[in-house]
């Protein structure tokens, strides 16, 4: 306590230095601007943008949200203004922040993924790409690539060729063998893995016998899925030697530390931002206190601790 021993919160992923291991998840922080008046964005470890597609995308019809026990369903459906507008408006603003930016890229065909990823890389304004091959809310594309390791690998290989910045691939938890999937995208050139996207799910209003979401199905996020995220990160981190960004239902500094202990090199807060935009900062504070209390001198030392404990 008394001594002023410096604790190092910095982590490094694929050569990118993060002030601390707390990012915000794609789609849950807009493109930063919406929260700029609520939070000092520079305090974040990094930011993952809303998915960008080649063309403007209107997304799914409303209702798009439904709350479930300790979770929520969303069926936003990749609504975004498209690549051109992103490159002209959002990305320059984001890249002016002293903060690493993962640009999340989605598409409805291989070609779209390749074009968007290549343009983002060429722009020089992004630190890394997060390839969203697992959005549960688009009928064609998306889910398709992430349900078959060969398709996924093929896509990653094509994107890899046109991208000069680190390439992270975001996987769906709806998958029989996550390690096989992670291995396939790693072999195809992924620099890192993001785990997990929302879990495909559904709710029905029994009064009307109609689905709660206009799109019928949506993605489940929040504390409900956290124990699933912990296991999938554990499995992938054990089997592969790539950096992993862990996410899924982080609701406290404990959940963040837990994901790091099972092998995440950094973590991202998603749904929690909606109830508390400053939550990532609170979690950093909690993590710092924990490190102090335990006499651990860096956040990086948390990574894989549960494996080392021989779990």
């Amino acid at each position: 306590m008394g001594e002023d021993k410096r604790i190092n919160l910095e982590v490094e992923l694929s050569g990118i230095r993060l002030r601390n291991p707390l990012l915000v998840c794609s789609g849950t922080y807009g493109n930063g601007r919406e929260y700029a008046e609520w939070v000092d964005l520079e305090m974040l470890g990094g930011l993952m943008t809303k998915s960008v597609t080649l063309e403007p995308c209107a997304g799914n019809p409303p209702p798009r949200l439904w709350e479930t026990p300790c979770g929520m369903l969303n069926s936003i459906g990749l609504e975004n203004a498209g690549l051109e507008s992103f490159l002209a408006g959002e990305l320059p603003w984001l890249s002016a922040l002293p903060l690493p930016i993962w640009v999340n890229v989605a598409g409805f065909s291989q070609r779209e993924y390749v074009v968007v990823a290549s343009e983002i890389s060429r722009s020089g304004m992004a630190d890394a790409i997060e390839l969203n091959i697992s959005c549960p809310n688009v009928k064609k594309g998306g889910i398709h690539f992430s349900s078959d390791p060969r398709e996924a690998a093929d896509l990653v290989e094509k994107v890899r060729k046109v991208v000069e910045i680190p390439l992270y691939v975001k996987l769906t938890p709806r998958c029989g063998d996550i390690v096989e999937m992670a291995r396939a995208v790693a072999a195809a050139g992924a620099d890192g893995i993001s785990l997990i996207n929302t879990f495909p799910a559904m709710a029905v209003d029994v009064e009307t016998a109609r689905p709660r979401l206009a799109n019928n199905t949506g993605g489940l996020s929040g504390p409900a899925i956290h124990p699933i995220a912990v296991l999938l990160v554990w499995e992938v981190a054990r089997a592969l030697d790539l950096p992993v960004i862990g996410m899924g239902g982080i609701w406290s500094w404990r959940d963040a530390v837990e994901l790091m202990m099972v092998g995440a090199d950094a973590v991202a807060v998603g749904t929690l931002n909606f109830s508390d935009p400053a939550a990532p900062l609170g979690i950093i504070g909690g993590m710092l206190d924990f490190l102090k209390r335990k006499g651990i001198d860096s956040a990086a030392a948390l990574v894989d601790m549960a494996h080392r404990e021989g779990g």
């Binding site: 949200l65 936003i76 749904t271 931002n273 109830s275």
Partner: protein, 259 residues
Amino acid sequence: MPGRYKAEVVARRRFGTLVELALETGSAIDAEPGQFIHVRCDKEGLILRRPYSLSGMAGSVVNIMVREVGAGSAWLCASEIGQELDIMGPLGRGFSIDGGSRHGLVAGGTGIAPMRFLADRLRRLGLEETLYWGVEGEAEYGGLALELAKECDLLFATMDGSAGEKGNVVDMLLDAGVEGLDGIYACGPRGMLTALAESLNDETLAAMQVCMEERMACGVGACRGCVVPASPPRRGYLTVCRDGPVFRGRELDWERIRG
């Protein structure tokens, strides 16, 4: 400037199925009628905030009126004086008062909340307004109609005829005539709003402003969860939390809204 506050419940009144809460935010609030606050319901298992229209405001105190419809609102309705609520707000775009002297306000059911605030604002501006309020039956909102009648020019309608006029509040407004109104402001169930919008012509639709509801997550425009269909040529969607909740009649695609 919206902010996040620990707001203390300083007054609590029940009107039938509605509970009115007065919340002390601790700093002077600048809010427009139609804006809302996003309230955390500290019940484990609930993870999203709940949006509530401001029904009034004075200095650092804001009012909301809560109807119990599920777990979150039940928790709010049970909150006691002295309790602290975590709120974000005021959020969204409120009503614009463009001037002119004659204003018609239409509220359906719980839609009365922002309308009460708007009526109050118009009165303070010295403008003339009539508030049309329709509910299912009188008992539903206890003594609220009586109280409103003292505050403004209230025309009250019940579907079951238990008090006021019997029938539909939109018909009541249309019967009274909308042509001469400088502003038409509406809040209520979807069915009521589409019925109203579809009864108006191009000109009166331009004079209409509606306060919309949609399920929300972030409340600040970040998640794109709370959208309503935009009219051509824009098409696509507008967010209720940031582009709204108040929209001009012509901004929305009423056909898609009716579904």
